[in-house]
Subunit: 397 residues, 2 copies
């Protein structure tokens, strides 16, 4: 039994469904309900307030942060959990601007996930001090780097196409120009090999409800390079990031190292769910996950191009240039995806015309890929998507 | 059977423990583990990504917000859930300053919970535009109001002493001077009768892990007066607060009404736990909870003053002037509280010398109060606290 057969058996995968949307929300690990239930009854229920010490809820954000750190090449003590990715964007950009005060421009690309851009926009409007959010096409980011730029903030893997930036090269080029570099790893952590330390990233942020299977709305993470940790002034200076939260001092003094990136009371129940899902990650290496992911994606591309000629690839063909998802363009992609879901293959749709499919070796295998394409071909060949009910747009697709 | 006997039976209360710390972390409702487990398996597990629509996870922050709203006198559509109280402080103060741009001072009191002050400090340092956080003694807040002040931010019930501000009177006096008023209801929601609409509060914020029993790190809430909702520019402009989150537009446009106070992806699992605990609140009115709370607190004061002469009251004696907690001063209060916990009565300690006890009618009755004081008297009479192990300070007390 291969390691991936074993990991697949550890997920709750509904009968009759092939789930190619783990890049949006990972599925439920079978162990999670019992783990959470146990936390609720044996920790919250029995320990009550003493759980903060006795069950070390207080140390949970750093303890889990270290486990995430192993998946992204971050040393112990450089990652902490909490809040949402949107909040972590705000913390990282505010801190980065503070480290580079003489400059006013935040550079990103126009393919970045919108909330990253929205959060920066909100921050810069609040600062009201001549800052600018500048957007380049993803392939023109390198050319747009210059010594006026304070911060480069990019998402490594494009949420629509899966196109992957060269994290190491861009970081080095930006830093040579005195730019602080922030990487959003939302579509990278658990999907591709990441080594924030080797890439010399200044900050990295990400969510845990996609490839890391932490559950809907699972807490986010933030990495701060050790050399910056003691220098940054937290913009979101909450009590759990204080040097001595339980001294209840009037004045804020930032905590040691990465601890200062904590804000409010940690989400203990949500972190318990995430903690359980990370046990599965202890069984594999990112190297073997990445290799298998590329194989699955290559197989999917080959199968679709053979059986679904009306679709056109909108992801890099070369495995090393993309993340763990594949997008095909189709003008009626919205309806086609709805029909596909109704026929048992869950992917998703991203405007304007992207049918997006995520490949997650922990629970997707070659048999799933072949079966999914067969169903997709049937939906397309027989125009099963051409029904009114598949064209009603709902909020989440 | 009184309604409070019934509600008491709905909580998991460990054998041999009298829990007088629900003002810090409420206990586990018996229904919560099954409710969460059901959400995990039947929603996340079976529905996967389609849960956002089919289980209406997307509507959960507003749906639960409306339920919280009923407990604090807020109309439907004026409260939304998410993040932590620290983050909600930041959102409220940033928005309030934006509504009152010609002024630069945020006034609070030096008895406010530290994270509220820390978050404002962080915000003002980021703005770097001549703002000031000014602190008055709690009883001198009214005298400190003037037309230079932009924002008055107060916690209604003092976290140490339980002293309660006159929310309606202070709001009216501040607003007459053109000040925007924010109330932190951390120790009020579920503890005292609150009517944010009748008080004309501009903003209110609070947490749900104390009297509302949402679990450790449960999500926070924010209320924005309907008249302001369409005027405020969110400082934390996340995608879930966008007018059309799934259009994935490059530019941020705030959502309608209270929705713009949403930031990132909502914490669905944590909100499910909270949702379950709110079912108990549907069985009672705040009027009857408040009346019973005052009776329990009065009884506690009388019993302590009769049986524990070495303690001195550090809370208002008059029930209407305090929240749902009572504090007694004792020089060796830290060790005494540790000893008391070891003997089965859980309260907590707040520096420098406050032994704090919360009274929560949903699961504490007169028998508990009398029994707790008997144990407290024994700890004090026999100096059971005078042991080295009770003097070792841990992070959470």
């Amino acid at each position: 039994m291969s390691i991936f057969s074993k990991t697949k058996s550890m997920f709750h995968l509904p009968e009759g469904v092939i789930y190619l949307d783990g890049n949006s929300l990972g599925p439920l690990p079978k162990a999670t309900p019992d783990h959470v239930s146990n936390m609720l009854t044996k920790e919250w229920g029995d320990l009550l307030i003493t759980g903060w010490n006795k069950a070390d809820w207080m140390g949970q954000p750093s303890r889990i942060g270290d486990r995430i750190g192993k998946l992204i090449g971050a040393p112990s003590g450089s990652v902490v959990m909490g809040d949402t990715l949107s909040i972590k964007v705000y913390q990282a950009v505010a801190s980065a601007l503070d480290l580079n005060k003489s400059r006013k421009i935040v550079l990103s690309d126009n393919g970045n996930f919108p909330t990253d851009l929205y959060m920066v926009d909100g921050l810069l409007k609040s600062l009201d001090n001549g800052h600018e959010l500048r957007l380049a096409d993803p392939e023109k980011v390198e050319a747009a780097l210059n010594e006026d730029i304070a911060v480069l903030m990019l998402t490594e893997v494009d949420y629509r196409t899966g196109r992957k930036h060269d994290m190491k090269a861009l970081t080095a080029k930006a830093q040579a120009l005195g730019i602080i570099v922030i990487w959003d790893l939302a579509h990278s952590a658990g999907a591709v090999e990441v080594d924030v330390a080797a890439c010399n990233a200044d900050f990295a942020i990400g969510c845990t409800y996609k490839y890391l299977n932490g559950g809907p709305g699972a807490p986010a993470f933030i990495y701060v390079a050790p050399k910056h940790q003691e220098k940054i002034r937290p913009a979101l200076s909450g009590w759990l990031g204080h040097e001595a939260p339980f001294a209840f001092d009037i004045d804020y003094r930032p905590g040691a190292g990465i601890e200062r990136m904590r804000v409010g009371t940690p989400p203990v129940i949500a972190l318990a769910a995430l903690e359980s899902s990370l046990d599965i990650w202890d069984m594999v290496t990112m190297k073997e996950v990445r290799q298998k992911s590329i194989e699955l994606c290559d197989l999917f591309i080959a199968q679709v191009e053979q059986h679904c000629p009306s679709l056109s690839l909108n992801s890099p063909r070369e495995g090393t240039n993309r993340g763990s998802q594949i997008t095909f363009k189709f003008d009626d992609g919205y309806a086609a995806m709805q029909a596909l879901v109704a026929h048992g293959v869950i992917g998703d749709f991203r405007a304007p015309n992207n049918m997006r499919f995520g490949f997650t070796p922990l629970y997707i295998d070659e048999g799933d890929v072949v079966a999914a394409v067969k169903i997709l071909a049937n939906v397309l060949d027989n125009k099963l998507w051409d029904k009114p009910e598949y064209n009603q747009r709902s909020r989440v697709t």
